[in-house]
Amino acid sequence: MPKTMFEKIWESHLVSEEPGKPALLYIDLHLVHEVTSPQAFDSLRMSKRAVRRPDLTVATVDHNVPTTDRSKPIADQISKKQIELLGKNAKDFGLTYYDIHSPNQGIVHIIGPEQGWTQPGKTIVCGDSHTSTHGAFGALAFGIGTSEVEHVLATQCLIQTKPKTMEVRAKGALPKGVTAKDLILNIIGQLGVDGGTGYVIEYTGEAIRSLSMEGRMTVCNMSIECGARAGMVAPDEKAFVYLKGRPHSPQGAGFDKAVEQWKKLPTDPGAKYDRVVEIDCASMTPFVTWGTNPGMVVKVTDKVPSVESFKTDADRRAAQRALEYMGLKAGTPIQDIPIDYVFIGSCTNSRMEDLRAAAAIVKGKKKSPKVQAIVVPGSAIVKKQAEAEGLHKIFTDAGFEWREAGCSMCLAMNPDVLKPGQRCASTSNRNFEGRQGAGGRTHLVSPQMAAAAGIAGHFVDVRSWN
C-alpha cells in the first residue's frame, strides 16, 4: 500500500504498538536547551536514572543568553544560574554540549541542521515548539514538554498517539519579493491558528521545491503556529547537498549509503492524506501581522481589518482586544503604520539566506533615526560567515546593531526586550501579547520587509523597494 513520508518514518520507529493504546516511538535525536530541561534533569537525578543515549542527546544554550559582549559576565543572576546548570547537567550526564563560548553555539534549531545532527528520516524532539523546523529535511520533528524531555532522557522513547496527516500543496511559483516567511504566514492565515491541530503537515508543490533548505526550514518552523506539531518536506538533492560534509552527517561511503535510504522516504504516489489544502502562490504578496496571534495577518497592500469583518462573537472580541493591545485603528493602511524597532533573528529567520536578503535591502542606506534595529545571527557559525561576506559592515553602516547568536528578542528572555508600547517589525514567529516584552507590539514579517521598514520607519511593500 502506498505510504506517506510521515507513515514511513512513524512505522520505522515503532518500539511497541498495541491496539487501543498510544504507540511507543523511538527518538533518534534529542535536542536540549537551558529553559525547559532543568526540572527534567532534576527528576532524573532524584530517581537515580541515567540518560539512556547520551550519544543521541545534544545540548546548547540559546533562550537566555545575552547577545552583547560575551567576554563580560552575565548580569542577570537567574539566567546565569540556568545557563550554568545546563553545563553541569550536560557534563554529569555525558551529553554533547555547545556552551556559550563554543564556536558552534547558536539557536538549537539552527545548529541541529548546521552540525548535521538533523537528517532525513529521523525522529527529532526538543522541549521547544519550534522543533518542527527540522522537518524541512524530511524528519519527523516536534516539540515536547519538560516531563516528556525527562521521558526521552530516561528511555529514548515517547508515548505518542498517531497524528493525522495533512498535505499543504503550494501551487505556482512565489513572485519576486515574496518569501518563505510570507508563504507560511499566508498558510497560517488560511488555516487559522488551530487549523493544523492534530495533524502533521507535509508541504508539497512547486513553490516548496523551489525553496532553498533555509526557506523550507522557515516554513516548517512555523507549522506549530497553525497548531500542527510537525511540518515536513520530502528530502531531495538540495537536502543531500546541504548535509554533505557536515560534522555529524554520515561520512564517506556512509553518506552515499544514507542518501540511498533517504531517497526512499518521500510519499509514494497514490498515498492518501487525511486532509489536503491547496495554496495559490502565484498571486501571493508580502504579509504583515496586525494582531496578537500569527493568524491575524494581511497583505502588505491591505488595511487593518475591522472588528465587524470577523464571523463569530468570540473572534470579534478577540479582534477588538488585539486592536486595543496593538494600538491600531481598523482601516489604517498597513504601510502607514510607523515602527520603533526592527528585530532580524530567531529560529524562523536568522540563517545566511535571511541575513543576505536583509543586507541587500539596507545596503548603502541609513535606518530611520527613530528606529532601533538589531540583527541577531542564528548561530556563531552564521555570524562568522556573515562577517566573512561583509554583511555585518552593511548592517552597522546602516545603523543596525550586529549581535551574538541566540533567541534574543523572539521571546525576550535575555536583555533584548521591547519597552511597553514599542512597535517592532520582527522576523520571529510569535506576535502574542507581551512576547517581545510586556506591552510590546510585534508585527511578523520577512527579513526583507523588516529591513525595509527599518529604513523607511514604517512598513513598505518590499516588491517596489529600490
Binding site: 498510544p22 511507543l24 523511538y26 519538560t146 516531563s147 525527562e150 521521558h151 522513547c157 502574542f432
Partner: protein, 202 residues
C-alpha cells in the same frame, strides 16, 4: 502523581479564544529551575497592573472565582510554546481540570503529565457552562473521569471523550516513564536491530 477520579468544584470563566502559553505564564518566570512556585505568576501580565496591584479587568481576579478549581475557556486553549510551566502554573494556582472545546496538542499532553484533566466538550456545552459560571453565583460542576461525564446539580449532564490510556493513567496517577520502563526489553530489541554495532555496550 495525584490520581484524578472525580472532582466537584467552583468554575471560573475565562471567555477568550486562543489563550496562548505566553499569557498563561510569561517568559520572565521560565528562568526558574524548580517545578514549583509558578501559581503566583499565572496570567501575570493580565492579572497585575504595572504597579503590581491586581487588575480589576482580569476575569480571575473577581472575588466570586476565589477558590475555583475548574477553568472553562474558549477554543484552542494553551496554544504556542511547549512550556510545561503553563500547566504547572494553572495546577499550582489551584485548577484541577479545564473545560474547552479544543486545546493545543502539546499543552494537552503536558496536562496529562501533571494529573490535570483537559476536558473536551462541544462548543454549545462549553458555552452553557461558561454562561453559568459568568453569573458568578458559586456555580459548581463535577468532572467524573470514571463515567467520562461533566454534570452540575441542575440540568447539565454531558459526556466527553478521552483516550482510554490517558484516562487510565490519570485515574491511577501513573506516570509515563514508569510505564515505558516496563517495555525495557522491547526498547533494547529495537536498538539492537537499529545499531547492531552497539550490542554488548549497553
Amino acid at each position: 502523581m495525584q490520581p484524578f477520579v472525580k472532582h466537584t468544584g467552583l468554575v471560573a470563566a475565562l471567555d477568550r479564544v486562543n489563550v496562548d502559553t505566553d499569557q498563561i505564564i510569561p517568559k520572565q518566570f521560565l528562568k526558574r529551575v524548580e517545578r514549583t512556585g509558578f501559581g503566583e505568576f499565572l496570567f501575570f501580565d493580565w492579572r497585575y497592573l504595572p504597579d503590581g496591584k491586581p487588575s480589576p479587568q482580569f476575569e480571575l481576579n473577581d472575588p466570586a472565582y476565589k477558590g475555583a478549581t475548574i477553568l472553562v475557556a474558549g477554543r484552542n486553549f494553551g496554544c504556542g510554546s511547549s512550556r510545561e510551566h503553563a500547566p504547572w502554573a494553572l495546577n499550582q494556582y489551584g485548577f484541577l481540570a479545564i473545560i474547552c472545546s479544543s486545546y493545543a496538542d502539546i499543552f494537552r499532553n503536558n496536562c496529562y503529565q501533571n494529573g490535570m484533566v483537559p476536558v473536551i466538550l462541544p462548543e454549545e456545552t462549553v458555552a452553557q457552562i461558561m454562561a453559568n459560571a459568568k453569573k458568578k453565583n458559586g456555580y459548581r460542576i463535577t468532572v467524573d473521569l470514571g463515567k467520562k461525564q461533566v454534570y452540575d446539580n441542575q440540568s447539565l449532564k454531558a459526556s466527553f471523550d478521552i483516550e482510554e490510556f490517558r484516562r487510565h493513567c490519570l485515574m491511577n496517577g501513573l506516570d509515563d516513564i514508569g510505564l515505558t520502563l516496563k517495555n525495557e526489553d522491547k526498547i533494547s530489541i529495537y536498538e539492537k536491530k537499529r545499531w547492531p554495532e552497539l550490542s554488548g555496550k549497553k
